[in-house]
Amino acid sequence: MQNALLSVENITVSFDGFNALDGISLRLMPTSIRVLIGPNGAGKSTLLDTVIGNVRPTKGRIVFRGEDITELNEYKIVRRGICRKFQAPGILENLSVLDNLSLAARPRRESWRSFGVGIDSSVRARVERVLERIGLEEKRHTMAGQLSHGQKQWLEIGMVVSSHADLLLLDEPAAGMSLDESAQTAELIRSLASDHSFLVIDHDMTFVEQLSAPVSVMHMGRMLKEGTLEEIQRDPQVIAVYLGREKEEAVA
């Protein structure tokens, strides 16, 4: 069996006695996309929080490329090669698009090594490639705070991509986007999956379909079902707790 890039093993996370994650496990292979869906409060964001070290599990462990990273600080986990996009856009509003990307792309992030002025040529080249991919070449000198919502989301995906991470965790990257924008985002993620792995959370089934990747369904802190989107959509349990409800809402 191929070695997993990320392996989440029996993780339990408890907030004041309430188990937001309840012994959940998940394995991700290199250069693959995995979609994570589930009703509100299922624990999807909490799972990403735990992988990135923002939330500490009470039980279980997380192994990345064979190394146990459960107890590491966030910034150390990031330097090992995992980067996360938050549900709310987390760009640096008072810096230009270029500065946002180049801060993410710098290989040396220790404070005492940051006294250079300007951007190294290797970082520059990397940033230029990302700018082109996220379609913000024209906006490079714009303050990030002045971008439209969709552009902010792309910029943040760009930041996550330009960080030297191999595993990218995206929390609802297409939220608030128009149909067009969200199709472009799916296309972007698929094109990037040739040399990255993605764990993507989203509620929008059209977007999930466009990603054409295996889907894991979470419910009440547990993994309910894993499979292709078609299998998931036919599964009576999934329909009962999640998809059925979405349909009712759509009808109502």
């Binding site: 910034y75 987390g90 640096l92 008072n94 810096l95 500065d99 992030r109 940051s114 006294f115 960080s163």
Partner: protein
């Protein structure tokens, strides 16, 4: 603002400061020199608070460390061989302690002025920021530190001169401090130190380090999730703030000829923060102007109506925070917003469309 305007204004300010001995009386020149020394501290606070978002209510401590180290040196060089500082004799000490005599050599004293406050600031910051303590808790810790520092200075009278502090020093590197030519030289040294500090800050703002600081201020967790450890950045920024405070304190005592616990405690530390807020906490030019304005204001109010000073500084702080959150540095932007609003209002009334088109083109 046009691109050349800002450096041009900075240069004009520098020229006005360099030439000040030509047009200011000795008294006003000495005041200006003092306040320019304070402005070095403000630049440090600008990096710490304005750029990294770390509010320090204890800059007086680092300022005081720089000042006390220099004054210890000045007291020692004023002694006849074998003598002890007067207040130590009165307190019944039989010899000058080693950590005092260490600073007899001018090079050691100069190094001490830089190193002691820097190390103190770095140590505090490293301890606190690595534990993820920040924001208001850090501000409270620094305020407690200022209180403790002043209290310690008062209680250890035998070593610190106690409540009255240290004074009566006459020469520095063989020059008489009261000599007008020395006073003028001291003034220019202060201007030079301030200009150097200013250029350092400007450079710092352009480095990646400066950009990470801004990012920490605006979203500490975001930058952490890009693989940066904010504690390291904030510690270095705070250490620089400490170094600037120390230099500022050392220059200041040369201008005033005395240092005492009342100058380093809670109230002076708060005044330092108010001066920076008035200037605009993230603008280097702004904090220099703010410091001059607040300190000249203080001088004027405390001689006209001494009891009004604390009240006025409180009022000033409230006014700035509510009406002018970006301080003096925010005035140009505020002006632009107001003209914009007026223009939009005229536009809504639909008057004189041609005039409107012309203004919009400009």
């Amino acid at each position: 603002m046009k691109k050349w305007l800002r450096p041009a204004l900075d240069l004009a300010l520098l020229a006005a400061l360099v030439a000040a001995p030509l047009y200011l009386s000795a008294y006003h020149l000495s005041l200006l020199g003092r306040f320019l020394a304070m402005a070095i501290l403000s630049l440090g606070l600008c990096l710490v608070w304005g750029w990294s978002g770390v509010l320090s209510l204890g800059q007086g401590v680092f300022w005081g460390l720089g000042a006390y180290v220099l004054v210890m040196h000045l007291k020692l060089v004023g002694l006849q061989p074998g003598d002890m500082p007067d207040f130590m004799l009165w307190s019944g000490l039989d010899h000058t302690p080693g950590w005092w005599t260490l600073f007899r050599h001018p090079a050691v004293a100069l190094a001490g002025v830089l190193i002691v406050p820097t190390v103190a600031a770095a140590g505090l910051a490293w301890l606190v920021f690595n534990r993820r303590v920040g924001g208001i808790y850090f501000a409270l810790i620094t305020q407690a530190l200022a209180l403790a520092f002043a209290t310690l200075l008062i209680s250890e009278q035998a070593y610190t001169g106690g409540f009255n502090g240290l004074t009566d020093f006459t020469t520095v590197l063989g020059h008489y401090i009261v000599d007008p030519s020395f006073q003028r030289a001291l003034y220019w040294i202060t201007v030079g130190a301030l200009a150097a500090a200013f250029l350092f800050c400007r450079w710092m703002g352009k480095t990646n380090f400066g950009k990470v600081l801004l990012a920490i201020r605006d979203g500490e967790s975001r930058i952490r999730f890009l693989g940066y450890n904010p504690a390291g950045y904030k510690t270095i920024a705070f250490a620089i703030g400490g170094a600037f405070a120390g230099i500022s304190g050392a220059l200041y005592v040369l201008h005033v000829g005395v240092i005492s616990p009342a100058m380093v405690g809670v109230m002076p530390s708060i005044e330092m923060v108010v001066a920076v807020a008035v200037g605009g906490r993230s603008s280097f030019t702004g904090v220099i102007l703010g410091t001059l304005l607040v300190n000249f204001g203080k001088d004027w109010i405390s001689s006209a109506m001494p009891e009004m000073w604390q009240l006025s500084i409180g009022l000033l702080f409230i006014l700035v925070v509510t009406l002018l959150p970006k301080g003096l540095a925010g005035i140009p932007e505020l002006g632009r917003q107001i003209t914009e609003r007026i223009r939009r209002r005229t536009a809504r009334r639909g008057v004189e469309p041609e005039v409107l088109a012309i203004t919009q083109k400009n």
